[in-house]
Symmetry: C2
DNA sequence: CGTCTTTTTGAATACTGTCAATTTAAGTGG
DNA sequence: CCACTTAAATTGACAGTATTCAAAAAGACG
């Protein structure tokens, strides 16, 4: 399975290879051994919670902060697993709300259809992040969640989660906290997009991705963007051409190197200045 | 007190007149009789919840959906009242998170300071809306909440609210639902701002305000904007001049009339088309 | 190996932001 | 009650930036 193959796809230490054999059963009880492949942040002193024990992103996921004794209560929530191939939708706009989804590995985009036929990307979700909060409002998913690489998620039944949170204060707090964090992220994105200069947005996007990569144990200075230029453009409220031009401009100035989707940050201070629009 | 006075301030049936006498005691137990002044939406079949009984915006506020028997549990949350004068801050960026605030009457803006010294408005809050969700993330308020007209809020201690929600499933659901609604609003705002054409943003802003006014029992076709052009511009990711120009352009085409902050919608379909960028 | 998607780059247009001046309303104090 | 001062809003002109349209190059995929 790991034979000699031409390195056509950029060397991609993060990618999962489903290698053709993709089981049709969407919900599996036992995790795959992929966990070993995913480096974990080791400084967060959070004890594992039941079914989440052994999950690489446990420390930044839903059970983060739960004490030992709370494991039992949390384990009453039956969590399923589901694999989603690149390009497949986990749920679609308008679908009834039954599950919240936690990214185990891979990357998702949340997008809503616009009247003109295009799509508006509202978020990119990395491993450890919880998706589906926005569905609690109307009991329907307002966005389509699409895997932009082969991915795996945990499916958390919302009713069970709500029940469990009734008994576990920590879990209750955690839930609101996660929703709140998403709110803060959105507000930051708003501030970003309101910024006139597109270069500032792209710089902030790169810095943000760098930080999130680092939080997940990857190199903050060199990473692979999982999304297309068009998706970045939609997310940042601009066009794919402008994104491409900004990246090229940064590369020309020596701030970064760009090889298709592989980004290398060379001058973080310069990027930060670009973000703050202090360009002399 | 209601003598003959020159109509210099636009006739303002919604404004509260503090009339000089503004008590220094910020938290009062008994509500003022102002409720009678605020028309309520009458079609939502929600029973009153304890302290909220008699509040005009109860049906769209925190206790919405609570059953009779749940009143008791909810009444364990001691809710204070606080009046905030125009221009005063209810809480500031960085303040520790102890209360969530429900707008009883008046209008607030949520804004964060930008690096360049300016401010980014992330939301406008009308009566019945809950503020402060974004503070649960880091236990600090990430935005400054400022009254943009004389206002009154209910102060809900978060810890008590969380405790009560542990016992009351409906309240628990309602809390997440409110946070979720705010998320959806933010996503819609994102979609709005991503729209290239500023006219579409301003059109959507007007239509949105119209809808929210209607939900609160006011006329959807004629209302007073409580915020300055600069605040609208910040909210929509543009400048105050552009907002002014868009309003003038709409008025010139006969879509609306503008008299300073008083807006009258004349041609909603045309505004909707402007929103959808279908301008022939 | 050929097709298709993604990305880059160029050129022209249209739009918005910026600077500046004017008008109008609102608040203040005599 | 009026004059004055201050804040908000409107409008114009110009420069700068991003979008649009178009074409070509580079990988990805089967």
């Amino acid at each position: 399975m790991i034979g000699i193959r031409p390195i056509k796809k950029e060397e991609d230490e993060m990618a999962l290879d489903f290698n053709g054999t993709f089981p049709e059963s969407l919900v599996v009880e036992q995790p795959i051994a992929w966990d070993a492949l995913k480096p974990a942040k080791v400084d967060a002193p959070t004890p594992p919670a039941s079914q989440c024990a052994g999950c690489a992103v446990r420390r930044m996921c839903l059970p983060a902060g739960l004490a030992d004794w709370e494991e039992r209560g949390f384990s009453s929530v039956r969590i399923g697993r589901r694999r989603v191939r690149k390009g497949q939708a986990l749920c679609r706009e308008g679908d009834p709300f039954h599950f919240m989804y936690a990214v185990r590995c891979g990357t998702f985009k949340a997008a809503a259809a616009k009247r003109d036929g295009g799509e508006q990307v509202t978020a990119f979700h990395l491993p450890g992040e919880l998706m589906g909060f926005d569905a609690a409002s109307v009991q329907r998913h307002p966005t389509t969640l699409t895997a932009i690489e082969d991915s795996e998620v945990c499916c958390v039944p919302y009713s069970q989660l709500s029940d469990a949170s009734g008994e576990l204060r920590t879990l209750r707090t955690r839930l609101v906290q996660l929703a709140s964090t998403e709110l803060v992220r959105d507000h930051q994105l708003l501030m970003l997009i309101s910024n006139t200069h597109t270069e500032a947005r792209v710089a902030a996007f790169l810095l943000g991705m760098s930080k999130r990569m680092q939080e997940r144990g990857y190199s903050p200075s060199e990473f692979l963007l999982r999304m297309t230029r068009a998706e970045i453009g939609s997310y940042l409220g601009t066009t794919l051409e402008t994104v491409s031009r900004c990246l090229s401009a940064f590369a020309r100035r020596g701030f970064i190197t760009v090889r298709k989707r592989r980004i290398q940050l060379l001058d973080v201070p310069a990027l930060t200045r670009a973000f703050e629009c202090e360009m002399p």
